[in-house]
Symmetry: D3
Subunit: 163 residues, 6 copies
């Protein structure tokens, strides 16, 4: 874990938006991933009800909620800059006990879309929780993290493989 710089959102001890007026617009992407641990019983229920895994109504609702949340990121995170979302793509992969949600966002702007990707993955996971919680309140949303970012002066970032 490299310590790149210091708190960019603080100025004289007060929180503040980072000034990006002098930055140049660039193509930027970010990918975030989260894991929803649903338990085998819910996964079985998905199959028994022919909910078609990643194409069924639970997953489609999660994709739509996540996409709308990506567009709302700067309303949710106080010091996020508003950015024109140009691409927003979700991939949901079921396994035996849960669902892996990946959210990829692209923009052309003066700052990156890491928070958009993280927020989209997070709200998609919360939506899955909401639609399954009547069956299991113990569902956990595990390990939300940034997988990669590209574009911009600060360089690209690629997370290590999951350890």
């Amino acid at each position: 874990m490299a310590l790149e710089s210091t708190f960019t959102h603080l100025r004289a001890g007060q929180p503040t938006m980072v000034d990006i007026t002098e930055k140049s617009p660039a193509s930027r992407t970010a990918v975030a991933e989260v894991w929803v641990e649903l338990g085998a019983a819910i996964i079985d229920r998905f199959q028994a009800n022919d909910l078609q895994g990643p194409k069924g109504p639970v997953c489609q609702t999660a994709i739509i909620a996540g996409t709308m949340a990506v567009k709302k990121t700067s309303e949710l995170i106080p010091f996020c800059h508003p950015l024109p979302v140009e691409k927003c793509d979700f991939t949901l992969t079921p396994t035996a006990t849960g669902l892996c949600i990946r959210c990829e966002v692209s923009t052309t702007g003066k700052t990156g879309v890491e928070m958009e990707a993280m927020t989209g993955a997070s709200v998609a996971a919360l939506t899955v929780y909401d639609m399954c919680k009547a069956m299991n309140k113990g569902i956990r949303i595990l390990d939300l993290r940034l997988l990669s970012k590209t574009g911009g002066k600060s360089g690209d970032y690629h997370a290590d493989s999951r350890s």
Copy 2:
């Protein structure tokens, strides 16, 4: 993990809001918790800059963003009912490598506030990520879960101790 019922948000294969017209208003609470793994270097930086741990500007910004997100829950989660939030309380506890965020929400309404508590904890954690990401893009948001809910006909719920 008990399997209480089936998909309440599906009707004839389509997603839908649960009908709560016949339910009675009741006092309801929910508590959610999430863990943000910041890494020791950021925690050290908090202390070196006298950011006062849980009372400093990073935590205050997270509390405010989380509170505002609790009030936005029904805008974010497609089939959540709007509820009048009457209490919303955050507790942030730092440790050697990260921050534990707990969000408690109360209402008087026809359905519970589990999603409000989960959403509040989630957005508070994303805000911490945003304010620290210049120092470490590898921050992880781990183990978002419901700790408890009370009130309403479906009974109380208390999560097992963290295993």
Copy 3:
């Protein structure tokens, strides 16, 4: 067409919210309907791609967008009162040349949910337009109207059969 009263939203020539402080909370419902004329070619394409008519992704996206719009009604219509939506149900029925969208909303409140049902049907129809417009920009959204309302002092309303 009965002329029941005069402009309730005007006071001394200025627009204004209707004062409902003295009204009593009651169970209220409203149903609105709209017709989207897609053309036979798009309906054929639905079937050829196995999009499963009313359960496919176009219809599910419309239902989700419509449900979220129902909850946003008082943000969109300037003098609408905010109301707690307790039920919101969509029915989409395809025919040979288009889609009939019906939206039913219920609340317990001091005023009715006609605007919620009308707004929900309208945004669901716009979403269908959006998802099909690459195939046909000439899609028309026809005959949005209130089918019925129940509850409240002003009495029930049922539209005549479509003439």
Copy 4:
């Protein structure tokens, strides 16, 4: 009715935002139109109360609500891209039995503003309905359609005359 292409918002059976990262910004306009059938009695009432037809408070409220809805389009329609609205102009034309609402929107962006114009016309019409519904719940909102779009690689579009 030409069938130009296929479902742009579906990828592997799931709904998704169209990727516009590779498109070029261009000047774009769209015009939408809708007809509100109020009935002669309400139109008479407009005149008897000196509500000045298209300049009176009902129409002004509709214009303002419509303009604000144009700016909210990407919040309402799940897969719409956010665009910087640079012009938004409404024309309301009363006739003997109703009101014709036309909404013109312009932007400089990577995709078109058809949905913005359609959404603006739609919410303006809903606002007229709201302000007149105490007099006639049978008001119908008829024939919302795109009149034209210009700009962008997919070429201009002009609707046929109303048949």
Copy 5:
């Protein structure tokens, strides 16, 4: 100026929402007032253009923006509780050099609507500023204050006459 109590929004040095779970719903009203100093030249222009003083399009736009802002208060002010607005009434009174804007709000709820009235007056004033600023960037928005509040356990409040 009486010092009634201490900071209700702080708990252990952190900002927090006030807990109103134990309070009883009651009828509550609040009235706020603000003065917009436009300058005589703009007031003359209002008259020369037959903009009808308080009924013209500038004032109607201010009323609509103010009403919509009243409904958004809990989204804008971080620790405000959401409340069902049941009445929202604006009075605009022009004088020789400006405009006095008064906003009255009523609810039935567990806490008061002071912030709703203050926010409504404030946004109505900002809207007047926006619509007149091309003529005079030196417009001032002066003396926004609470005129009165009624209802609830903390008792009624009536401001002294303007000194």
Copy 6:
């Protein structure tokens, strides 16, 4: 007070958004200022509780609420164009009886950010009011005005010194 032009937001007597399609993007800034008269007793209480004047939780909450309001300006003011906020900086200066709030906003866009700066200052002041109103309902928000704007074809503006 110079009378620069006429009502830019009216067209044929109706309110309308200004058409900026032909304008060129430029760097633009605006600074607004407002004074909150809290009374000496609250200022004393700030000090007695070690709330650290401008860095304490009241001021931080005001900064966050103000920043989020700057980003919401085009949602609040009906005919404001949406603009990408690139910088948003608050300065809060306490004196013996109150707090001076200054808000500076920058963008690269086709129109100015005067309304963003005015709205940010206004909502920050309302937030201070909200957090202190339990101690004094007589707090006044005085003299909100534009201090300066730069950039764009209409030239720079600098307010006279406070008279």
